[in-house]
Subunit: 409 residues, 2 copies
């Protein structure tokens, strides 16, 4: 039985299943007897401004739970806000803890990626320092799949399923024309190629998959790129290339930087990427005269809730639910992780891991899962990723459109 | 009972439902007793090279029919080939008719848009001139919905459903951040705004829809655009703009041309468009300092068979089937059209229309369906478009991916 209230927030880039984790936290805490499950608006940044809601005002029954699971993006709103260090700005922490105290919060959950886990780390350290017994738990979320200590992250399976499906449809589209062409598809992923690698999931009995995949794990070389495309042209009229937005040349610069007047960075100092496919498409046409087009899968990779992986959405719920269970058991400063028991049949159990091991770290695609030429992934990647995209969860359709649960329209 | 064989082809830009029309032609002709339904590879261009298949080698049972309906892009391959005039190049026509004669073809079906209907017009005229009794029938197909004489075209409903759904998910994504931002979503449509207008279908009880929609039916003015976005910012942090790739400034130039080094045209003399959203996004940031991003819905608008309108796919099948029935009845030089009986409850019957009235013409969004400010569509558009996006048809999923029927992998 829960004593005290709950505060839950969502942070970082949204995903198609981040609300499923929110549903898992909410339902588990309510079923455990919690009076109030508060949701911070726009993560920790909103909480500092005392912006929060009582989730029971929005989630009134089990149908709402199901609708929330089918709602993309962060239901509570998100932020990209890095807490200042407690040494420099203790007043920020004092403010947060005073708001939590006022609301009778004993359990704090933060659903996010590696930057967000930093928030959990800082808050749990501060709690230890001031002797607060509020429990702080991290719930993993990122389509990037780049969190350490976990087999994979909630959000990755659905993004991978969307990318594989979109690639397959784009391949079908590209190959229907009789002309020679190069199609370059840009896929998200700053430093880790997990998402770009998912383009390979389009390969099956009925589809040969992309001809070339470029991951940020390998140095990108313009001349080699042209050569590799020209080689593939000997085998097929329409060459299909999947490229990570995060590919870099040997000087450490992002390929897309060549295309930009200036480079903008976000709150965490990350450069904003984009434009890789269009730049490379122009480059290909200029270098070879080949007709080329760039396609950017863009935001839909993280918000196409009309095409989610059922396994992913179920596991995302489980991550939220198990974080609640762990907090009730007294855990703090931890994150839920996924431990895989086997690929086939797929089996996974959740565990908990010390947040200090996770925050601010990035996990990349293992070197041995990338082909020697660096333009594809091996069968080991397929065995790893394929189970994560299995199954669908149909949206609730109203008047021909998916229906969502919402605070703001 | 059919005497003689059938030749069917697909032409122009593919859609998510063009294969449903192919299925309608095939099954109706086979059920009518036709020995061979041949499919030209890459449309009339492939036929001239004697590239064709016997469709029974690929469609072997009713499950294959269902799989074909769920396969995006043109199963037979497509082309963008304009027949030369029969006066200038009679040898091209003689070649086509000799190939058809050799194969015992009595019925010829061409599934395509307004450019493709030109092919049917030329061939049926030539048949009349030489006294051939081969029947030539057009089956409408275009996501652009710009064919004359028909209430709407097969392909539009599914593209509209995809656009509405993607818009809704993008809106959800954009509004989750606490920052001011402008999101500009580029939608297909050269001269007609039917697809861009479909962005409005995202509006519902749970979503306010895009703030501004710019159609090619109205002149685009950069200064007015900035003013209108700034006005919308007073109402909401995240402003969402849908813009047709075909918007033009008062000098008659496409907005996206400002961004290009050179302009490429296709076989029909159409300028290749693209880059409108990215250009306008940069323009917005430079003009106002506002954070802005451009999203291009791109190819998936016409090939996202994982999210089709069930009504559209059923009607596309019907268009193919009814073209077959009309040809058996002796019709030639005609196209199947859709006549709407009522919006609610929706009711539609097919008809036939003389191809001369249709070929090379474009139907745009009626002026009275566009709001006075030119930044949205009226309720009349919703009444028109909403019935066309109703219902879903689930893909056949294998190993987490939609399965397709194929000739070429």
């Amino acid at each position: 039985m829960i004593k005290g209230n709950v505060m839950v927030g969502q942070s970082g880039g949204p995903t198609s299943v981040i609300n499923s984790s929110l549903a898992g936290v909410f339902k588990t805490c309510k079923d455990g007897g919690c009076a109030h499950v508060y949701g911070m608006r726009n993560g920790i940044e909103g909480l500092i401004d005392e912006r929060y809601v009582d989730l029971s005002d929005y989630i009134k029954n089990d149908l709402d739970i199901e609708l929330l699971k089918r709602t993309p993006s962060s239901f509570l709103g998100t932020c990209r806000y890095k807490l200042p260090s407690a040494e420099k700005s203790p007043e920020v922490y004092e403010r947060i803890f005073s708001i939590l105290k006022k609301l009778g919060v004993e359990y704090f959950f933060y659903i996010g990626g590696n930057d967000s886990m930093d928030t959990i780390m800082q808050l749990s350290r501060f709690a230890a320092r001031i002797g607060s017994d509020i429990r702080f738990m991290g719930v993993p979320k990122t389509i990037d799949n780049d969190l350490d200590c976990t087999d994979h992250t909630p959000g990755y399976g659905s993004a991978a399923k969307y990318i594989g499906t979109a690639m397959k449809e784009i391949i079908r589209d590209a190959k229907t024309y009789p002309n020679d062409s190069v199609t370059i598809v840009e896929i998200m992923g700053r430093n880790a190629g997990w998402l770009a690698a998912a383009a390979s999931l389009s390969k099956a009995e009925d589809c040969q998959g992309p001809d070339l995949i470029y991951l940020p794990e390998r140095v990108f070389d313009h001349e080699t790129f042209v050569k590799q495309v020209e080689e593939k042209r000997r085998e097929s009229r329409a060459v299909i290339v999947a490229v990570s937005e995060g590919v870099k040349t040997s000087d450490g610069k992002y390929v897309c930087e060549a295309n930009k007047k200036s480079t903008v960075t976000d709150a965490f100092g990350h450069k904003l990427l984009g434009g890789t496919a269009l730049y490379l498409s122009d480059f290909m046409t200029e270098s070879t005269g080949l007709k080329s087009r760039g396609i950017v899968l863009s935001t839909l990779q993280r918000c196409a809730s009309h095409l989610v992986s059922r396994r992913d959405i179920t596991e995302a719920y489980m991550a939220g639910a198990d974080a609640a269970v762990a907090a009730l058991d007294g855990e703090t400063g931890k994150m839920i992780v996924f431990n895989r028991i086997s690929d086939a049949p797929y089996s996974m159990v959740t565990g908990i891991c010390d947040i200090e091991k996770i925050a601010n770290k990035e996990k990349v695609v293992p070197d041995e899962w990338i082909t020697p030429e660096g333009t594809g992934v091996t069968a080991a990647f397929d065995s790893y990723a394929r189970p994560l995209i299995i199954g669908e969860l149909s949206p609730f359709m109203v008047d021909g459109m998916p229906r969502h649960l919402f605070i703001d329209k």
